[in-house]
């Protein structure tokens, strides 16, 4: 959980997603940003490597679930081979 007086998402949960597949990482990263914005989620961190996008995302749990499903499908011309999702219950995930 993220919790501080200045936190705009005081009730937010966070999850780390590792998405592996055959895709343009920049394209997939842009997709994750767009989806997060649509779902009012906060991307805490986002990194890419060839065939990999890793995102730490915070927000309402139900919306995190929608984000996960969207990323599992991905945008057009992207194939997701594997995806893991883990809850991050403390700042150690940051």
């Amino acid at each position: 959980m993220f919790a501080s007086d200045n936190d705009p998402f005081p009730d937010a949960h966070s999850r780390r997603y590792r998405i592996r597949g055959r895709f343009d990482c920049a394209l997939f990263a842009a997709f994750t940003r767009q989806r997060a914005a649509l779902l009012a989620l906060r991307i805490v961190s986002l990194r890419t490597a060839p065939g990999l996008v890793e995102a730490l995302v915070a927000g309402e749990p139900a919306l995190l679930g929608m984000f996960e499903m969207a990323c599992a499908l991905g945008p057009g011309n992207c194939i997701v081979d594997d995806m893991t999702s883990e809850a991050c219950e403390s700042d150690r995930c940051l």
Binding site: L38, L39, A40, E60
Partner: protein, 206 residues
Amino acid sequence: MTMWHPVALGADIPAGTVAPVRLHGDEVVLWRDEAGILHAWEDRCPHRGMRLSFGFVRKGRLACLYHGWQFDGEGRCRHIPAHPDLSPPGTIRARTWRADEAHGFVWLAHDGSESLPAMKDGAFTAARSIAIESARGTVAAALGIGQDPVLSRDGLICAVHAADGETTMLHVAVANPADAADAALWAQRTRDSIERGEAVAWELHL
């Protein structure tokens, strides 16, 4: 400058119904709530991209057929059936177009802030919308419409818009309700004439 395009006959979208239209290749859903207010949005659910024109109207909202997400008249998502206790964030919303009605036609504008220009008063009865497999320029030239979106001639009110580069929609309304059936047939004859490259005959009653 705001460009307004006639895209449908208002009578073809009764209260509580949904209809798709295309304008210059853009897919737009028209829907009218139970109070009679017309809405125009991008024909794409922000959730999974399903055409919202497959959806249905319930209690002032348009519901997507796929997962039932409900959007209010402003395009904002208000209910997600899979998460009934969730208050959807304001970021989830359909992309809206500006819509208005005049001369019996539905008009759309994508950009700009100017209102639909005032038009000559008169009540018009919708007759027929029909697709013509010709570019808008060809159809407009055949009808003598030019760059104006609407032509009034011999009791007929004709409007055209480009659905895409190859298909043009012709919308026909009439000043005299008794002419509506003949005007609908005229629209068919006109489509056939234009697609065959023949001159348009303006005689309404054969």
